[in-house]
């Protein structure tokens, strides 16, 4: 059996409904272990004090913000090539989650930046590219909601996702060049992994796993919702005609 059999909406809902309870439990477990471990059972950083602990939210959220877009790109391509509706709906379902992760990454970044750099916001290349990513998510979500016919919307958003990915990548490089041009290198690197010690690293890994599971769970639930909404539309259309 190939995985394409789950492109059938009924089979997709059946299969995911069986998996979801386990997924929810696993997500809750991973997040609870990772966050409690990270927040309460790791030492304070000698330089950053206890503020460093926000990495347990910040880093996984930032990773998932990017991964959600990559997942949308993959499902959009599947829709364009194989015309599986579940794939298009999964991309639609993932976008608001990706936007939420992006905003969490930005907000926790601001909370972290305030005590460390003395400012809520700096036009650091990394911060800037996440702000730009949020704009891309916003455009994608708005296009989905603006087009009435669901298949037309799926096609147009898939094209936008493809073209947007290229321009998002270009923006990332552009932002790097732009900041070098203005200032010296940022004196504080946001790249926490570089100097993170093992005591911080292990709970961080658990948190990242938790965020990945959270993303998968939310995408499955939202895709189910989208499928049911389509079903409702189809039933109503049949009702109107009959």
């Amino acid at each position: 059996m190939s995985i394409w059999k789950y492109a059938n909406p009924k089979r997709f809902i059946e299969a995911t409904t069986r998996v979801l309870p386990w997924l929810v439990a696993l997500t809750a477990l991973a997040l609870a272990v990772g966050l409690v471990w990270g927040f309460f059972f790791t030492p304070d950083d000698f330089r950053q004090g206890s503020t460093v602990k926000i990495i347990y939210l910040h880093v996984p959220a930032a990773m998932m913000a990017i991964n959600a877009w990559i997942m949308m790109l993959a499902t959009s391509l599947i829709w364009i090539v194989r015309r599986h509706h579940v794939s298009a709906l999964a991309a639609k379902a993932a976008a608001p989650i990706g936007l939420a992760f992006t905003l969490v990454a930005l907000a926790t970044g601001a909370l972290w930046g305030q005590p460390m750099w003395g400012t809520w916001w700096a036009w650091d290349p990394r911060l800037t590219s996440f702000l730009i990513l949020a704009l891309f998510y916003l455009g994608y979500i708005t296009l989905w909601s603006a087009v009435e016919d669901p298949d037309t919307a799926a096609d147009l958003t898939a094209i936008l996702c493809l073209v947007g990915s290229v321009f998002a990548l270009l923006s990332r490089y552009a932002v790097n060049l732009w900041n070098q041009g203005l200032h010296q290198e940022a004196s504080l690197s946001l790249d926490a992994e570089k100097n993170v010690a093992d005591v911080f690293w292990l709970p961080l890994l658990v948190c990242i796993a938790g965020f990945v599971l959270l993303f998968v769970t939310l995408v499955l639930v939202r895709t189910q919702t989208e499928i049911r909404a389509r079903r409702l539309q189809a039933l109503l259309a049949r009702e109107r005609v009959a």
Binding site: A146, L160, F167
Partner: protein, 222 residues
């Protein structure tokens, strides 16, 4: 360019000249913006000179945005787009020609107008040449990306606002590299990298975006 595409280009230019409005509006907007910024920021020549490259680029970008929805919407309303879609001219060619026509009536005039506005904004003397060069290389991307956004939103009622929301993030790389060229030009720094990237984006957009736009148009027409 085949005779069909040439005819389309000439028609679009003729329509732009005869119906006026839309395209001239962009130039007026560019002028007004360059007057308003000093009024808001203050008359300090040093401050103005420092922000001039960015203001001029942002102004050109917004002025370009004003006329984007006209690229396909008018032809969609009066049925011309359906007829063009079944004509011997490939839809990719239609998109490319319409983006070219848009650039000729907005991007090019904006480029020629920009040095005059640079005077108002106290732009450094060494930057004028680079301002024109960067706009000349960058504004075609604005029209091509704009045509892509217009193709995506052609079926949407009141798509103007949506269009800007979709297109502005796509303008970011061009804006950054374009303004960077002028800024470095003003400060007498090496600017080969952003200039090359600006040109590369334009060439890439000209080669690939018409295909994406034509695909979006076909989806919207069916």
């Amino acid at each position: 360019m085949g005779p069909g595409m040439r005819a389309l280009l000439l028609r679009d230019l003729r329509l732009a000249v005869r119906s006026g409005g839309g395209f001239g509006l962009g130039l007026a907007f560019f002028l007004i913006l360059s007057v308003l910024v000093p009024l808001g920021v203050g008359a300090d020549g040093v401050v103005l000179g420092r922000i001039a490259p960015g203001i001029l680029w942002v102004g050109a970008l917004l002025a370009c945005l004003l006329s984007l929805d006209r690229i396909f919407a008018l032809d969609h309303e009066d049925g011309s787009l359906d007829l063009l879609a079944i004509s011997p001219v490939p839809l990719e060619g239609v998109v490319a020609v319409k983006a070219l026509a848009h650039w000729l009536v907005t991007g090019l005039p904006l480029t020629l107008m920009a040095p005059g506005l640079g005077v108002l904004l106290n732009l450094g003397p060494s930057a004028y040449g680079w301002l024109v060069v960067s706009l000349l290389l960058g504004t075609p991307t604005l029209s091509l990306v704009g045509a892509f956004g217009a193709a995506l939103t052609v079926g949407v009622r009141r798509g103007g606002l949506l269009l800007s929301l979709l297109v502005l993030p796509l303008y970011i790389p061009t804006l950054i590299f374009g303004a960077e060229v002028v800024r470095r030009g003003a400060e007498g720094m090496a600017l080969a990298t952003p200039l090359a990237l600006l040109a590369a984006i334009s060439l890439g957009a000209a080669a690939l975006l018409p295909f994406a736009s034509a695909a979006a148009l076909r989806v919207n027409l069916r």
